[in-house]
């Protein structure tokens, strides 16, 4: 049950007061006693009217009627929450803009109370401070600013409208709400817009408005400070020596006004604690928390911040560590030594001479499944390759970016034909392909031209060749650098995205989700309009009215018993 214009305490007072009134009336009820007299002929003419036995009957008497009317009027006035206006100044048009964004669902100073609850209390207090002749409108700002209480609606409904507001799951758009508020009061004097929000960075639009319009914009901050620590990225970096283990790095960014302590917990989803660390972070800083020697076993990991923030949603991240089995490479023992050396450079690579399942076939062609089984083939039939020193990495191969083959030459041999469907050239000599991969998921093959292993060739002796082999194998085995980032839907809920975008390793927020151009610095707070120019109003205490009603009822009862009124 929702009371309009009445608090639960007042309702309780009404109930208790009514019970007290009934009790008093019961005590003071009229008790007539019978008395025999010698004659009633004189009393019959002396009594103007017989005593009223019903409430309506008692209305006949003007004084009784007046008292009862006064009681009813006072009760009605009390329920309407009257205010005594001490200043009969000009009418003020006030628009309360209530921030109901996601960050308002965070706890406020009082335990168990959210920032939105605190904002509601402030809004209700402001409503009660208004003069009766002032006009009031209420706008809720979440992604879609909307009017929830029009200025021509009864004032008593404003409280109910505020109490019905629920926090949204998305950030608010205060600037548009202020624009709407200003438009509501166009053409009127004494305009005032009150923004109740937890934003630390007041929209500069407020300043723009006050610069062009005669509007007083007052910003009321709710909550401690809207600072926020968030997990912005996480990545797994395998060790070079032990490719099956690595280091998990969780990047935490903090935006705020003061330094604060940020504690992070990393654990497996099964509950095993991997790390618990607290760090005092400076304002607007980034810190990487690292979990060392973590097995790349594909387990689900949970990283969470043990702190309250403006956005609770970004305090936890669930990610999977990469699954890292050995990279099995099927390689004939007759392959060139330089290639074998290059293959063994990567600790993750295991050369398979025979099939680990059947022990016979060299390259598992009998449908035995070896995970990450990659074949290496040296092409000796194909277009001829002439000695050349112009070796270069094929364009578009990201995992080979930066390899330098300057000074390396290849010998004579057959070039790699670009026949498979998923063939990707890796190394070119002019227009001739010297190395390429067939990225068939079931049976990836790395092709090398025989010209690379010719006696005259020097390329296979270059470190770049080993890197080419290792990066290619890792690419085919799925050994890309494993990283995790906040999903875009979480970033949408972050009111501090404008600053975070620069800190996150992968900016995945949807473009246009927040117009950063409208969010400016702290200096945009409209300090010039924080002067108090409110009308002084005195709320008439509801309890006093009730006491007056009680006194009137008592007076009526006493007068009735004493015979002053029938």
């Amino acid at each position: 049950m929702t009371f309009t214009g009445i608090t639960p305490f007042a309702a309780a007072v009404i109930i208790v007061g009514s019970a007290a009134i009934l009790a008093v009336l019961h005590i003071l009820r009229v008790r007539s006693r019978q008395q025999s007299v010698v004659t009633t002929m004189f009393w019959a003419t002396a009594v103007e009217r017989p005593r009223a036995r019903s409430l309506m009957h008692r209305f006949r008497h003007p004084r009784t009627y007046l008292l009862l009317v006064c009681i009813c009027v006072l009760m009605a006035i009390a329920l309407l929450r009257p205010q005594l206006a001490a200043d009969s100044g000009d009418r003020v048009w006030e628009v309360i803009v209530l921030d109901a964004g996601a960050s308002m669902s965070v706890g406020a100073r009082t335990e168990g109370e959210t920032r939105l609850d605190a904002a509601k209390d402030i809004a209700i207090d402001r409503i009660r401070m208004l003069n009766p002749n002032d006009r009031l409108a209420i706008i809720v700002t979440d992604p879609l600013p909307r009017l929830v209480h029009a200025s021509n609606a009864p004032r008593s409904m404003a409280v109910k409208s505020i109490l019905d507001i629920e926090p949204a799951a998305t950030p608010s758009v205060p600037n548009k709400a202020i624009q709407l508020a200003v438009s509501l009061t166009n053409g009127w004097q004494n305009r005032r817009v009150v923004l109740i929000t937890d934003e630390t960075r007041v929209p500069a639009f407020a300043g723009d408005v006050t610069a062009t319009d005669d509007v007083e914009v007052k910003v009321i901050r709710v909550g401690e400070s809207a600072d926020n620590a968030a997990i912005v990225a996480a990545s797994f970096e395998p060790y070079a020596e032990r490719p099956y283990r690595g280091r998990l790095t969780v990047r935490v960014a903090y935006w705020g006004e003061r330094e604060r302590e940020v504690e992070i917990i990393v654990q497996r989803s099964g509950g095993a604690l991997l790390m618990r660390e607290a760090v005092t972070m400076a304002a607007d800083s980034v810190h990487d928390f690292a979990v060392a020697d973590l097995l790349a076993d594909g387990d689900e990991l949970i990283a969470k911040l043990a702190t309250d923030d403006a956005v609770v949603a970004d305090n936890m991240l669930i990610l999977h560590s990469p699954t890292r089995p050995a990279i099995y490479v099927g390689c004939d023992l007759n392959c060139p030594n330089c290639l074998q050396v290059a293959l063994r450079t990567d600790k993750a690579v295991q050369l398979v001479k025979n099939c680990p399942h059947c022990g016979k076939c060299k390259v598992c062609s009998k449908k035995h499944t070896i995970e990450s089984m990659i074949s290496i083939a040296i092409v000796d039939e194909g277009p001829p390759v002439i000695d050349s020193q112009e070796l270069r990495v094929a364009s578009g191969v990201s995992f080979l970016k930066g390899l330098d083959f300057e000074g390396a030459v290849c010998g004579s041999g057959a070039a790699v034909p670009e026949t498979p469907a998923k063939f990707m050239p890796l190394l070119l000599c002019g227009e001739t392909v010297l190395a390429g991969v067939d990225e068939d998921q079931e049976k990836p093959v790395v092709y090398f031209s025989s010209a690379m292993f010719d006696e005259k060739a020097t390329i296979c002796q270059k470190p770049a060749f080993a890197l080419l082999v290792a990066q290619t194998l890792r690419h085919l085995a799925g050994w890309v650098d494993c990283s995790a980032s906040i999903p875009p839907e979480r970033l949408l809920a972050d009111p501090l995205w404008a600053k975070r975008a620069g800190e996150a390793s992968q900016p995945l927020a949807m473009p246009g989700s927040r117009d950063s151009g409208n969010v400016r610095g702290q200096a945009a707070i409209v300090k010039a309009h924080q002067g108090q120019s409110f009308h002084w109003t005195v709320p008439l205490p509801f309890e006093l009215v009730l006491i007056a009603v009680l006194l009137l009822v008592l007076v009526e009862a006493v007068l009735h018993v004493r015979g002053r009124i029938p």
Partner: protein, 292 residues
């Protein structure tokens, strides 16, 4: 002698007299001066002789001086029929001391005086109707009988003066003095009462039995008043204003009775039921005589 009628009371009323200014003619010889000229001892007037007059009453000395024949007229003392209508309604027995005591004492006093004056005296107690009236008697030897009769009177219901007067009038009694002893508390109102009394052809002596509380009732608060006769209930908040209105109503009642008595040339006596009658006899019979 009963408890009510003491010897002192009997002694006290022995010397009292009732003198009526209008004694109807046709009565038997008694002590009241009537309009009839008769064989009394006291000369009243002369009148011219007309044939047929008794020549024994002719004044021959006057005839000798004037040559004309006149008769000497003398008073003829006659009796005065006294009818006492005593109110024995419930209201007369309600409070303590009951008004009926004073009423019976006053009735006894009037009866005793009348009997002493050789008047025929009848007692007609009433309530809602006449109750076993005592037919007119004469002779003071009947006083004990009268007293015994009064002693055994009991409450007789609700007062209905109109009905009582109508019945009394229907008796066709000889004109005389009607002594009406009552509190006159008849719910029909004083106007109805006086209209009924006005219809009587008799001389009237109204004896009103009252008490101080009639004018100033000692009531307060929320009351349901029950009429002792009719049982009617009135819900009432006794306030100073209500008491004032009551007093005005009561005064109107009393004034109405007095005004009627004045118009009717009837005597009116008010007795206080709370005071002994012996102490009030001096007021009722100034110099021992009550002139009606």
């Amino acid at each position: 002698m009963g408890q009510l009628f003491t010897r002192e009371f009997i002694q006290a009323i022995r010397s009292l007299r009732i003198v009526s200014r209008q004694v109807p003619a046709g009565g038997k010889s008694a002590e009241h001066r009537s309009k009839d000229m008769g064989s009394g001892m006291e000369f009243r007037d002369f009148r011219a002789y007309v044939p047929g007059d008794d020549l024994r009453r002719a004044d021959w000395n006057l005839y000798r001086r004037s040559g004309r024949l006149f008769l000497r007229m003398f008073d003829e003392p006659e009796d005065l029929p006294v009818y006492i209508l005593a109110d024995m309604s419930d209201s007369m027995f309600f409070e303590a001391p009951p008004r009926a005591d004073v009423a019976r004492l006053m009735t006894a006093a009037v009866a005793a005086i009348s009997l002493n004056q050789h008047d025929r005296t009848g007692i007609f107690p009433f309530g809602s109707d006449l109750v076993r009236p005592m037919r007119p008697l004469s002779g003071k030897h009947n006083l004990p009988r009268v007293l015994r009769y009064l002693e055994q009177l009991r409450p007789a219901g609700k007062t209905d003066i109109v009905r009582v007067v109508r019945k009394f009038r229907a008796m066709g009694l000889r004109r005389g003095l009607v002594v009406f002893v009552s509190d006159f508390f008849d719910g029909q109102g004083i106007d109805v009462i006086t209209n009924a009394l006005k219809s009587l052809r008799h001389s009237l002596l109204l004896i009103q039995i009252a008490r101080e509380s009639d004018a100033s009732p000692d009531l307060d608060g929320e009351l349901t008043l029950l009429d002792c006769e009719s049982g009617d209930a009135i819900d009432l908040t006794v306030t100073p204003e209500a008491v004032a209105r009551y007093r005005r109503s009561y005064d109107d009642f009393c004034n109405g009775l007095l005004a009627f008595a004045a118009r009717r040339r009837a005597a009116h006596v008010r007795l206080d039921a709370d005071r002994p009658l012996l102490t009030q006899l001096g007021d009722v019979f100034p110099d021992g005589v009550l002139i009606t």
